[in-house]
């Protein structure tokens, strides 16, 4: 699998570290709702088809990327900096 890092260019997957589901939203820090936190920490979906996930370019620029990947074909349809998306940008 090749991930096109927006900073470093296309690189082999061995340079990256998988950092989990990028569709989850961390609850408000002050929330004490155990169900909400439990869902955030433990529940993961395993969709057949497109999925968004975090990959850290650990052997490159060390930025987290949001990679949109088809779970059935491993085809990557978009890659963006996680920071940009977390700041309100679109993938």
């Amino acid at each position: 699998m090749i991930i096109k890092c927006p900073y470093c260019g296309p690189r082999d997957v061995i340079e990256f570290t998988y950092q989990g589901d990028a569709t989850r939203k961390r609850p408000e820090p002050l929330s004490n709702d155990p169900d909400v936190w439990n869902a955030y920490v433990y529940d993961r979906s395993n969709p057949s088809g497109l999925h968004r996930e975090f990959w850290l370019h650990s052997g490159g620029c060390r930025q987290h990327l949001v990679v949109t990947r088809d779970m059935t074909t491993h085809a990557i349809s978009s890659v963006a900096f996680a920071r940009d998306i977390a700041s309100g940008g679109q993938a």
Partner: protein
């Protein structure tokens, strides 16, 4: 002699001879021979014994699909088992051995297994070795009892134990177009692709290009097709944009159009050039893949179909045309399609005597009849082979009338004397790579075979692999698939009008009592096994495969796949496509571990050395590998045990002063206006209130509320901190912080830099630590006012800028001295010089561990990913004033459970060591102690207490203090009486470090 070398023909170099041995006997062949062709030429037809029944087996195929003729290649002490004799090129000095026979191939004791046939039928292992429910052999113990006998009886070749002396290489390559196979389709597709200027790699698994053209009686461009292929290949190889790899088997197809291949660089050579690898592992990234992998002929399943002398019709042809070898002196053919007639024509032209052609079809075309007549072969249409007679090789076959519509056998058996039977059950496109790539194969009713799936990446399949079975349509398909823009003028082909579509006949079943009919030769799976699997409810192809092991041998069912499915479909009364097929998995052919490893063997880890490493070695340090780091364990002197050394070192720290290399601690430089805010969020305690020039001990949790890491963080400026982490967690903590900054809190203006390797660190600990520093630190005082507990000063030692922080892991008055890593040894030596009047002693990890165990300080052994802050008595660090990572999950039930393990100390009551990892039990019986309620995390001899002590995580820990128990270690046979005590075993008030 049954098989022999023909007077002419083949591409072996008849003028030269090559000497080799098989089972200790010397033979000779010619350059260009495989082991199979050379042995057949010498009249050898018995090659091995079968997997379960030890039945005699001969050569069945002529290439990578060979299921039977597997041999072991010996080279000194090195043995390579399960090498296909049909692919093994002979060379002078080659030593080979047959497999799975005892004591010899001709006299095999285990052939008795044939009589025990029913015992070894499908599911035998599952049914038999569940074992009785009670008794000494209950459950899997029965299997463990029987295993060694069965392992001796069943199996393939034996793996060697000697190290592999050969060199292997790994190569990465990329191209615009990768062509797999160089038969007619591969050559034309490559020519079309290369003509557009594309960068092309062609991979051919055999030594010569040409594929099926190497054994063809047709003509292309008026010439022998093998000559045409050789010239075409040479022209392609000469093009600057083409790389032509022979003896290169493409074995894996992965995501992103990445394919893997093994190139046999020198394993076919008697003498390898120095430094030349034996094999080269290719990882090829390609824009487009053209799969021109051809097709495999299928066998027919009929009684006695596995004896030596029965082989694929195509194999008989290839041995004759490629190697000039007649596989028998009186050959018969048995077929359900026209391709066997082309084989008959080619064989007859090559001088092989064809006795008869047995065809299950009631009628055949005029072209077929003409061929039979020209070959002077008796044509038996509407007939089938219903039995074989063989000792070590075939002597005759039985034929009977057969109705292809009803698949019924009738009439009196007739015996035909023959020593070689060529079988054709139709052709299966070699769709293995396309199937690996991920698609679902599609059944073709006409060919009675699975065709490659729709591409899910940029690949195409061409030629026979795509279902084109005659040369003319293969060439035109390949030209189009090679390049849509292709303007190639295709050469004229002369070939008889034959149709490869077979009659849908897969199995001949004359009666229940006939001989065994094999489907999977390599795993000894019979047609009866497949039907048994059906009767026992294993209907899906996936279950069939696992229950019978059909197709799971080293040949991956290249010959057995479709016949096995056909028999299951028949048993279920459904069609083959309804029964479905399993997905092929890499590797297409077996790959050696050596080739996969390439140059990457032995110790491949980086070794991380601290700046003071050489000093440690020069001063008697015994090193210890902590993750990637090398750290001094002890500084031993002669005759001293490890325990004596660390006790001496730890005692010196408590009595005077010692220094220890702490450069391995993780260090992260954290800068930015929001640096303090980040720390407040990731640590459980507050850091924004920390004054500049002070340090604080911090604890991090994971999001699930369990403890993650601890360390001190120093505030070097309003917006700058230096975080330290445990040695093991330097990477994970960095990644943790990066994750939150990138993905959760992008609004925080903070930058992180890993500076672990930038700073050398030395801890100076002991009652004389301050006196030592006073003797060498310049530019500042180090008294209690200037440098209070957790204070930081910037100063110099021997002119080298240093940062000194007063913090303690040992519980003594202690400091950490950091300097640029290039000055590490200089500062280390300066500290030793300054400490001379106090008998300063360097100490290692063992003493460091002893000091912290005495103090009850936790490290990775206790912060094990399962412990909470509460378990470790660190709840005082959990701020109530702010949320932090993990705070929301702290209150959940599981973390409040009073049965959780918590940290305690242990003192040995028998004055002997407590062993690490021991379980805590109350039962005094050492042999079968009752339930464990905790475990030892770290243990040592404490010089300060004069006792063997340990830290442990124990259920109801705190309330157990004062109780007695046992630390039991069944592995080391130690059952130690202990008293449970507070984890603060030494100086619980902390008066020493504050002094």
């Amino acid at each position: 002699m049954t098989s022999s070398r023909l007077p002419r023909g083949g591409r072996v170099e008849r003028s030269k001879s090559v000497r080799f041995t098989f089972d200790g006997k010397a033979y000779s062949g010619h350059p260009g021979d495989t082991l199979a062709s050379a042995l057949l030429a010498s009249g050898i037809t018995l090659f091995g014994r079968s997997f379960k029944y030890h039945r005699p087996r001969g050569v069945f195929a002529a290439g990578s699909d060979e299921p039977n003729a597997l041999v072991t290649v010996l080279s000194g002490d090195v043995r390579e088992p399960n090498v296909r004799a049909t692919e093994l090129e002979i060379h002078d000095g080659l030593v080979t051995q047959s497999q799975n026979r005892f004591p010899s191939l001709d006299h095999d004791f285990m052939a008795i297994n044939q009589l025990a046939g029913p015992l070894f039928s499908a599911g035998f292992y599952y049914k038999t070795f569940m074992g009785p429910a009670i008794g000494p052999l209950r459950g899997t113990r029965f299997w463990m009892f029987c295993e060694k006998f069965i392992r001796r009886a069943a199996g393939l070749g034996k793996a060697g134990t000697a190290p592999d002396p050969d060199r292997y290489e790994r190569m990465n390559a990329w191209c615009d177009v990768l062509v797999v196979g160089s038969g007619p389709a591969g050559l034309i597709a490559a020519e079309a692709a290369a003509g557009t200027g594309a960068r092309v790699i062609i991979a051919e698994e055999r030594p010569l290009p040409g594929g099926s053209l190497l054994a063809s009686a047709e003509t292309i461009d008026g010439r022998d097709p093998s000559v045409w292929a050789r010239e075409k290949a040479a022209a392609l190889a000469a093009m600057p944009n083409v790389r032509f790899l022979t003896r290169t088997s493409v074995w894996g197809y992965y995501d992103g159009n990445v394919l893997t291949a093994i190139e046999h660089v020198s394993d076919f050579k008697p003498n390898r050039t120095k430094g030349q690898p034996r094999q080269r592992h290719w990882i090829i990234r390609t824009g487009k893949t053209i799969l021109a992998t051809g097709a495999f002929e299928r066998p027919m399943v009929f009684p006695g179909n596995d004896c030596p002398g029965v082989m694929l019709a195509d194999a008989v042809r290839r041995f004759a045309l490629e190697y000039g070898v007649a596989a028998g002196s009186n050959v018969t053919l048995f077929t359900n399609n026209d391709s066997a007639y082309e084989a008959a024509r080619a064989l007859s032209l090559a001088g092989v005597n064809i006795v008869a052609i047995v065809d299950v079809r009631a009628d055949v075309s005029g072209a077929c009849r003409d061929i039979a007549t020209a070959a002077n072969a008796e044509l038996l249409t509407g007939h089938a082979v219903t039995g074989t007679h063989a000792g070590k090789t075939l002597s005759s076959i039985t034929v009977q009338h057969f109705n292809a519509e009803t698949c019924r056998v009738s009439g009196a058996p007739r015996e035909i004397r023959t020593d070689c039977l060529g079988v054709s059950g139709g052709w299966s496109p070699a769709i293995h790579l396309a199937s690996q790539a991920g698609g679902k194969p599609e059944w073709d009713e006409d060919l009675q075979a699975f065709l490659p799936p729709e591409p899910n990446q940029n690949w195409v399949v061409t030629g026979a692999a795509a279902g084109y079975m005659d040369t003319i349509s293969v060439l035109s398909d390949a030209a189009t698939k090679g390049s849509a823009k292709s303007r190639l003028i295709l050469p004229p082909v002369e070939a008889p009008m034959l149709d490869a579509s077979p009659a849908p006949v897969f199995q001949i079943e004359p009666s229940a009592k006939s001989q065994k009919a094999f489907v999977d030769f390599q795993h000894d799976v019979t047609a009866d096994d497949v039907r048994l699997a059906y009767r026992e409810g294993f209907h899906s192809v996936e279950h069939l495969k696992r229950y019978t092991t059909l197709g799971m041998a080293t040949d991956q069912g290249k010959t057995s796949n479709v016949p096995g499915l056909a028999i299951m479909a028949d048993a279920r009364g459904i069609s083959i496509p309804e029964a479905g097929t399993t997905r092929f998995r890499p590797p297409f052919t077996p790959v050696s571990f050596g080739a996969l490893a390439g140059e990457r063997y032995g110790d491949l880890r980086p070794h991380r050395l601290t700046p003071m490493h050489d000093w440690h070695l020069a001063n008697g340090a015994k090193m210890y590998e902590a993750g990637l780091w090398h750290r001094p364990m002890i500084y031993g002197s002669h005759g001293e045990t490890v325990e004596q050394a660390y006790v001496r070192e730890a005692r010196a720290v408590r009595q005077s002063v010692g220094i220890v290399d702490v450069s391995t601690l993780g260090k992260i430089d954290i800068q930015g206006p929001d640096a303090a805010e980040l720390l407040d969020r990731v640590y459980t305690n507050m850091f924004s209130t920390l004054p500049v020039g002070k340090a604080r001990y911090g604890l991090m949790l994971r999001e699930d509320g369990l403890a993650f890491d601890d360390g001190t963080t120093w505030r070097l400026g309003e917006t700058q901190f230096l975080m330290t982490t445990t040695t093991a967690n330097a990477g994970p903590v960095m990644q943790h912080l990066e994750y939150y900054l990138d993905c959760i809190w992008p609004e925080l203006r903070v930058h992180l830099t890993s500076v672990t390797d930038v700073w050398a660190g030395t801890a100076v600990a002991g009652p004389k630590a301050r006196a030592l520093l006073e003797a060498c630190v310049t530019g500042t005082k180090v008294d209690n006012d200037t440098l209070p507990f957790m204070g930081i000063v910037h100063s110099k030692i021997e002119g080298v800028p240093v940062m000194v922080c007063r913090l303690s892991f040992s519980g003594e008055l202690a400091y950490e001295v950091y300097c640029g890593s290039g000055y590490g040894t200089r500062v280390w030596e300066a500290l030793l010089t300054a400490g001379k009047p106090f008998d300063v002693m360097p100490y290692g990890l063992e003493a460091l561990g002893t000091l912290r165990i005495e103090k009850g300080h936790v490290t990775g052994a206790e912060i094990d990913g399962r412990a909470s802050a509460h378990d470790l008595h660190l709840d005082w660090m959990l701020s109530k004033k702010k949320p932090f990572i993990g705070s929301a999950m702290l209150g959940r039930e599981g973390l409040k459970d009073e049965n959780r393990l918590s940290l305690v100390g242990l003192v040995s009551l028998d004055n002997q060591a407590i062993t690490g990892g021991s379980h805590i039990v109350t039962d005094a019986r050492p042999r079968e102690p009752a339930d464990s309620f905790g475990h030892v995390t770290a243990a040592c001899y404490s010089p300060a207490l004069g006792k063997y002590i340990a830290l442990a995580l124990v259920k109801h820990g705190t309330s157990m203090i004062g109780n007695r128990a046992f630390a039991t270690d069944l592995l080391r046979g130690r059952h130690c009486p202990v008293e449970i005590v507070s984890h603060h075993m030494y100086d619980p008030e902390g008066s020493r470090m504050h002094g």
